[in-house]
Amino acid sequence: MKRLDQKSSFFWMIVSAITVFLSSKLPFGTFANPGAGFLPFLVGVLMFLFSLILFVQSFSKGEGMVKTLLAKGGTGRVLLILLSLILYGLFLETLGFILMTFLLMGFLLLAIGKVRRSLVIFLSLVSSLGCYGVFQLWLNVQLPKGIFNF
């Protein structure tokens, strides 16, 4: 934990320094009439102090249980999921909800879940059409139709 705490506290120090810098460009106002930058500036300073305390505390900590940050073989799956979510977001309005949901579910079930193909096709169809039915037709949630208009 010692090294992890050092790394994370250092990261938060940078975040808080950026916050202080950005909020210093906003009007601070006076104590009697605080401006838009007043609270973010104070919070940024506080966050820097807390990060510094964590950084100092981490030196007095023992190594303790060694924790692996990334599980073996699992990192690829994590990255694939994140990538698929971002791609889903980027192409949702172009390709439409039904097609994108079919593709996303198919990919997640097949590539990550290692589910057999016949079941993948069935579940992808049911989920995309079922969700469209429930959310668009029943709950009146506006889902994108895309260039194919479905």
């Binding site: 009697a32 699992g74 994140l82 889903y88 996303l104 079930l109 989920s127």
Partner: protein, 498 residues
């Protein structure tokens, strides 16, 4: 008598067929999300929120509240049968509930947790009925300094109670305040940290952040670790606890209810803290504390009662002060605002239909949940048997729909994915997400209260210490912040002396 009339009025509202249906739907969805690990009440509320826009505010709030307290019932099922808590508030139930299942007593464990939840939920609603109106009257006396002090206390309590380092909790609270300040400044109308991005002008949405930090990150962790669930094979005959079980549990349930309710009232408290506090207390009071962790029924009954009472108690600050005490009530607060309702001292006066309708729906909801969770337990267990490889794409899909449908914004999907990574790393580095979310919700309200207080006092921070209610709240927060330091100081003195 006035309260009785109000409750009866509430029943008139909730017994309308549409409201009855939405109450049942909320309880059903709540139980389902409670049973399924990885999709908690906040995510489920956020998911169904867009679908409630065309409903009446009363029906919508009845349903969303049902999801919240319903998830507390369902959470225990996974804890007892799979040793994986369906809800964070059921973590402690794993300790003895799963051991009971392995000893062939899954039925009584499930039974007592459902009965305990029912009893606590019902007593909690009774207290809620009698406590809310006087508290709402007291809250009318609250000015900006009192609100600011109360919110500081809430954040301090949450960071104090988070497991692990309090400093990390405080860092998370600061991050939440910074995220909450993104967007348009309510007083000056100036854009802050928006970088000319249209999507940031209204601030970062709570739903994508919550879904990312809690839903997506949990999926990522489970997929990375390749979780294999072992569902305990057992028959569910004999769900009714024996007379001895009832005798062993009666005080645990009562204590759990009271602790749960009053911890639930505190901003930053809620069901999770309540369940741990109840377990600790039962262990301390038990004649056989060494048996805790080996399958003791009162260790299931107490925390399960506490988490239900805690979820009921959490409605007090929400309805009377307009302050959320946890993530789920924070999203409920957002929902109230979308429906054009302002939770707070005036809700009871301006919208009695909503106030008493929601409270009365909780009585009926608890009965529905008892029926859903005992005779239908076999159905919920079937959901648990769905392999995670099939379940996780659905969890992600529901999160995506929930986030997109709120504002029809693709950018919010990207924000959710980003928060998913953040939440995943936070869990790796031992940071808690709850202070971040609470601070993000309270941030804008806190800032307004702080700036208004300083304007009233012409720049003097003494205003927080010269008004009695504010002094008590702020003083308690300072004591809580100093407690860990005092502990360390005392240990140093003891070591030096001996």
């Amino acid at each position: 008598m006035e309260i009785l009339d109000s409750v009866l009025h509430g029943f008139q509202i909730v017994l309308q067929p549409a409201n009855l249906f939405y109450c049942f739907l909320g309880c059903l969805v709540g139980t389902l999300v409670g049973v399924l690990p990885g999709l908690g009440a906040p995510a489920a509320i956020a998911l169904l929120l867009p679908g409630t826009f065309h409903m009446s505010p009363v029906s919508a709030t009845i349903m969303l509240a049902g999801i919240y307290y319903g998830s507390m019932y369902g959470g225990s099922t996974t804890s007892i049968l799979v040793n994986i808590p369906g809800e964070t508030a059921s973590v402690v139930t794993c300790l003895d509930g799963y051991k009971m299942a392995r000893q062939g007593r899954a039925g009584p464990a499930l039974g007592i947790s459902a009965f305990g939840s029912f009893i606590a939920g019902t007593i909690g609603v009774f207290i809620l009925v009698f406590l809310s109106p006087p508290l709402a009257n007291l809250a009318i006396k609250f000015g900006p300094p009192e609100y600011f002090s109360l919110m500081i206390l809430g954040l301090t309590i949450l960071t104090f109670l988070t497991k692990g380092s309090m400093v990390k909790g405080l860092i998370m609270a600061c991050l939440g305040l910074i995220l909450g300040s993104i967007g348009t400044d309510a007083i000056s109308g100036m854009y802050r940290f928006t970088f000319n991005q249209l999507i940031l002008y209204d601030g970062i949405g709570l739903v994508p952040v919550t879904m990312g930090l809690f839903g997506v990150s949990e999926v990522l962790l489970q997929i990375e670790e390749g979780v294999k669930r072992e569902i305990f094979q057992t028959s569910f005959k004999g769900l009714l606890p024996t007379f001895k079980d009832w005798m062993d549990c009666k005080w645990a349930m009562l204590r759990g209810t009271l602790i749960g309710f009053f911890l639930g009232i505190l901003p930053g408290g809620g069901a999770v803290v309540a369940s741990f506090a109840s377990y600790g207390l039962e262990k301390k009071l038990s004649k056989h504390p060494e048996k805790f962790g080996t399958g003791v029924i009162e260790a299931v009954a107490g925390p399960e009662s506490a988490n239900n009472a805690g979820s009921t108690g959490a409605f007090i600050p929400l309805l009377t002060l307009g302050l959320p005490s946890n993530v789920a009530t924070a999203i409920l607060l957002g929902a109230f605002m979308i429906y054009g309702l302002q939770p707070g001292p005036l809700l009871i006066k301006n919208h009695p239909d909503v106030f008493w309708g929601v409270i009365s729906s909780m009585y009926l909801g608890n009965v529905m949940l008892l029926i859903l969770n005992l005779p239908l337990i076999g159905i919920w267990v079937k959901f648990l048997k769905i392999p995670y490889a099939i379940l996780f794409p659905f969890i992600l899909l529901f999160s995506l729909i929930g986030v997109y449908s709120l504002n029809n914004s693709v950018a919010e999907i990207v924000i959710m994915a980003g928060c998913g990574i953040l939440g995943y790393l936070m869990k790796k580095f031992d940071y808690e997400g709850a202070p971040l979310i609470l601070a993000m919700v309270l941030g804008p309200m806190m800032e307004n209260a702080l700036r208004q207080s300083l304007m009233i006092s012409r720049g003097s921070f003494l205003i927080f210490f010269t008004r009695p209610i504010s002094l008590i709240l702020f003083g308690t927060a300072i004591i809580l912040l100093l407690l860990p330091l005092l502990g360390k100081f005392r240990r140093k003195i003891t070591m030096a002396a001996g």
